[in-house]
């Protein structure tokens, strides 16, 4: 297991460097020019050149890249030549737009994304797995058809549609819930767990409608496959109770692919639920990423891309470990 983990760790570091380099290169090759964007409609070539110096974009590409990456290992001076300041380790640079430390920007955004992610994950896992199991156990009956039909609708609804409909119905029309506010970042603030719950309920539901639909389909099909296996027939013939057959034997075997899905989805979500955060005005990582990309804010874009990649890679590693625990053949491989 130790060598398995070591291999994964080294692969993760290499992958992160590759991703950082690709992101940096794409940004440089892309059409967006932060220096030109900074001075607007009356931008003379001289002003663009001055802005390029101020943003540190006048240096060679590799110098810019290694200067940026060196911040991951030590503190260093960053900022415009006329206004340099020490950026403490781990330094992800300063925002082109606001001159804030990028670590501060991410630290501010992350609690919002965690709030969105944790509730949504619980909701969609419970609903998705629960309804998937129910549909599998009621195969061919009305309940099954209702759940499968609902899942088909849910998986077809993009987040902007679900989100706006939820806002329109529960906030604007029925006035049952407040508009999401950026004043509540966690359940430990002034609003308390109750205020936090109400604030994030609609984003959770919007995400859960989409994700639980996928989980229902996967859970149902895997359970149906597992319930038809020989060992299940053996379990039944041994006279085990229905509950024991379904949950102790069937679910453990049938839900392994769901664990994979869940791990990867959580990893992706921690990198920012872009659409959900944008629609519900949650200033999380996804929301920040959209603004950074639109305004050509390279340091913020780089940091969020690397962070999202980090979460996904870590989620992959955790899934692999979980698999290795569940199925010893993976360790050998």
């Amino acid at each position: 297991m130790t060598s398995f983990l070591m291999r994964r760790f080294v692969a993760m570091i290499v992958l992160l460097f590759v991703i950082s380099f690709v992101t940096f290169t794409l940004f440089q090759l892309g059409p967006a020019d932060p220096a030109a964007a900074a001075c607007g409609q009356e931008c003379t070539p001289q002003r663009i050149a001055e802005a390029r110096v101020a943003l540190g974009m006048d240096k060679p590409f590799l110098t810019q890249y290694f200067t940026y990456m060196s911040g991951l290992f030590s503190s260093h001076m960053v900022g415009a030549p006329g206004s340099q300041a020490l950026c403490s380790w781990p330094c992800l640079g300063k925002s082109f737009q606001t001159n804030e430390d990028v670590t501060t920007i991410i630290a501010r955004a992350l609690p919002y994304t965690l709030s969105v992610a944790c509730g949504a994950v619980v909701l969609w896992t419970v609903a998705g797995v629960g309804l998937g199991l129910l549909a599998a156990l009621r195969k061919g009956r009305f309940t099954d058809k209702l759940i499968v039909g609902g899942a088909s609708v849910g998986v077809s609804l993009p987040i902007p549609v679900t989100g706006l409909l939820l806002l329109l119905l529960f906030v604007s029309t029925l006035d049952l819930l407040p508009f999401t506010t950026n004043e509540i970042a966690s359940p430990f603030g002034a609003a308390g767990p109750g205020g936090w719950f109400l604030n994030y309920l609609l984003p959770w539901v919007a995400l859960a409608v989409l994700f639980s639909a996928q989980y229902i389909r996967v859970t149902r099909s895997n359970m149906l496959e597992t319930l038809g296996e020989d060992f299940m027939r053996t379990a039944r013939s041994k006279g085990l109770s229905r509950r024991s057959i379904v949950f102790r034997h069937g679910a453990r075997a049938g839900l392994t692919p769901v664990v994979t899905m869940l791990g990867l989805d959580i990893g992706s979500l921690l990198g920012g639920a872009v659409l959900t955060e944008t629609i519900f005005s949650v200033p999380g990582v996804g929301f920040t990423a959209v603004h950074a990309a639109q305004s050509g804010d390279l340091p913020v874009t780089m940091a969020i891309t690397m962070m999202a990649a980090f979460f996904i890679i870590v989620a992959n590693v955790l899934v692999d470990i979980a698999y290795a625990v569940i199925d010893p053949r993976v360790r050998v491989a």
Partner: protein, 572 residues
């Protein structure tokens, strides 16, 4: 964003536009009873309200790029800036009219020397910063000096700097004395200009002349707490989330008749999605809410709701100084008759529909308008209702060498501009021109238009420049010559250069006189230039902004394109 998402948004937007277009023939926001009512008259919500107190909650979809007056060329910052900084002269907003220049920190609009090369300002007495320290002429000079430090400030306003006589100065962080301004005593500021500039009071109304004490300058971090010289100061600022402004006890209203400063506080929510902003405002979920987002935060699909009487009485509206035009690249479409034929063939009424219909803009016949100083009547053969004149267009191009293929470039973040291209494709096909559409990254849009990649046709907008009340600051940047007068200027997108007109404009730049008399000359030259059809005027913006039911004195800023924060109040 996946395909189904894009499709859903496109469907919603199209449905909204279609609804708006259907109702667009009779714009209602400014429509008063009676046949002769001006559909584009300004509408102010709760006009005449004078009660102090309460809070205004400003909903915004993103944080201010900067609050530093020395590092901002954004209208949003200028609007909120009225609350925490003052300048020598203030551009005072009145809905539907270009801003009027009024003295602010200075006692008057400035005294020009006979040759027009020196402008002198005297500060009012008793002016203080929020910390109680006096505002002196040196603080004004230092504020201007900072805007020269372009190795620090990428967004520093440049109009004033371009006019002052010290091009070699690199800002206060590199040492050296700035020769563009003298401060003979604590009350007097003397500006030295390269050339006479009749609209100079407008230049010192820009944020460059907001006072900044040298000891308080924290360079790029100054944006987190600019020292207030206005009626409010920043109590808290949580970047990307919220900001709160409270009264500045060291602001003396006796020195400032321009800002009513009615609410006790302003709160800003800096990360509210536009869709949420429009829903909150339409539903009146916060009776003290307003927005500074463009188009009042309204989505195209919300437009029909503006006809609801309950919403209508909470909607401030007005014409802005912003006009959109199509630039015809005169280097690639050289024949002026071909350009004119193209202009005549364009269905500008159909283009207006792409802007959201008549409610979102008025068909424009010129970049300049009669409310501007120096305006003289302009001549054009374009239909005032925006309908194409295809027969005339076809006659003009008979026997001419008409290009078979042209390229229209558009900013890629707004579907509207692509849709305008689709209209143009259909129109120009009638002249045998195959128009190709080319997306351009929005962030670099104007840099591309100024460079080698300028397409044959491109849209641009202009909101009046340094002085939206004067014709000069629209004409010179858009069709004027380069600094040496030998070619076209860097922001002259159609690359229009007529040697005779360029020479006259070049000479006019150095001429001493009043804004009125010089403006008439600029406007006459512009009228001559427009007979060559380098530009096709499209739509002049008319913006509506829904406010909460307790918001009063909400007027649409002509320059800001949003509710003017210096006059708004709240019933409480």
């Amino acid at each position: 964003m996946n395909r189904s998402t894009i499709a859903a948004i496109a469907l919603t937007a199209t449905a909204g536009l279609a609804l708006t277009a259907c109702g667009g023939a009779k714009p209602t926001p400014g429509d008063k009873q009676g046949a002769n009512a001006d559909a584009y008259a300004p509408v102010t919500v709760g006009k005449g309200f004078t009660t102090k107190g309460g809070n205004i909650n400003v909903l915004m979809s993103s944080d201010f790029q900067t609050l530093d007056p020395g590092n901002s060329n954004y209208v949003q910052t200028a609007n909120v800036g009225q609350l925490y900084y003052r300048t020598l002269v203030m551009a005072k907003e009145t809905a539907g009219q270009p801003p009027k220049m009024v003295p602010d920190l200075a006692t008057d609009l400035g005294k020009a020397s006979k040759d027009g090369l020196t402008w002198t300002y005297t500060l009012k007495k008793g002016l203080k910063f929020e910390d109680g320290s006096p505002i002196t002429s040196k603080d004004i000079k230092y504020g201007v000096e900072r805007t020269y430090a372009r190795d620090v400030y990428t967004q520093a306003p440049q109009e004033l700097d371009s006019a002052l006589a010290d091009d070699s100065y690199k800002g206060p962080y590199h040492g050296g004395d700035f020769k563009g301004i003298d401060t003979p005593d604590d009350q007097t500021v003397v500006f030295h200009l390269k050339q006479p500039y009749a609209e100079f009071p407008a230049l010192v109304s820009r944020s460059n002349t907001a006072p900044v004490p040298k000891a308080k300058d924290t360079k790029l971090d100054y944006t987190n707490h600019p020292l207030s010289s206005g009626p409010y100061k920043i109590k808290s600022y949580d970047r990307g989330r919220s900001m709160k402004l409270v009264r500045n006890s060291n602001w003396d209203p006796a020195t400032d008749p321009n800002r009513s400063a009615l609410p006790d506080t302003f709160t800003f929510s800096l990360s509210t999605a536009q869709a949420t902003i429009s829903q909150q405002l339409l539903a009146n979920s916060d009776p003290t809410a307003i927005t500074l987002d463009s188009n009042g935060g309204l989505q195209a699909s919300d437009a029909a709701k503006l006809n609801d009487p309950k919403v209508k009485k909470r909607t401030a509206a007005g014409l802005l100084g912003c006009t959109d035009v199509l630039n015809l690249n005169t280097e690639t479409i050289k024949d002026k008759d071909v350009r004119k034929a193209m202009a005549l063939a364009i269905d500008r009424a159909a283009v207006q529909v792409q802007y959201g219909g008549a409610r979102f803009g008025k068909i424009a016949q010129s970049y300049i308008n009669p409310a501007q100083v120096g305006y003289v009547p302009q001549h054009t053969d374009l239909d005032p209702a925006g309908k194409p004149k295809l027969d005339e267009a076809k006659k003009l191009i008979k026997g001419k060498n008409v290009p078979k293929k042209l390229v229209y470039g558009y900013a890629d973040t707004n579907a509207r501009y692509k849709n305008v291209g689709t209209v143009l494709q259909q129109n120009l096909k009638q002249l045998g021109i195959d128009l190709q559409l080319r997306p351009i990254p929005a962030a670099n849009y104007y840099t591309v238009l100024a460079g080698d990649q300028m397409p044959d046709i491109a849209r641009s907008g202009w909101c009046g420049g340094a002085d939206s009340g004067s014709v000069r600051t629209t004409i010179d940047p858009n069709v004027g010559p380069s600094l040496d007068g030998k070619t076209y200027g860097f922001s002259n997108i159609p690359r229009y250069h007529d040697a005779k007109i360029a020479k006259a404009m070049y000479e006019l730049r150095g001429t001493n006189g009043t804004s009125e008399e010089l403006g008439k000359k600029w406007a006459t030259l512009y009228d001559q230039a427009m007979q060559d059809y380098p530009l096709v005027p499209l739509v002049r913006s008319y913006t509506s902004s829904v406010v909460g039911s307790k918001v009063r004195n909400a007027q649409m800023g002509y320059f800001f394109g949003a509710i003017d924060l210096s006059t708004v109040g709240a019933e409480h």
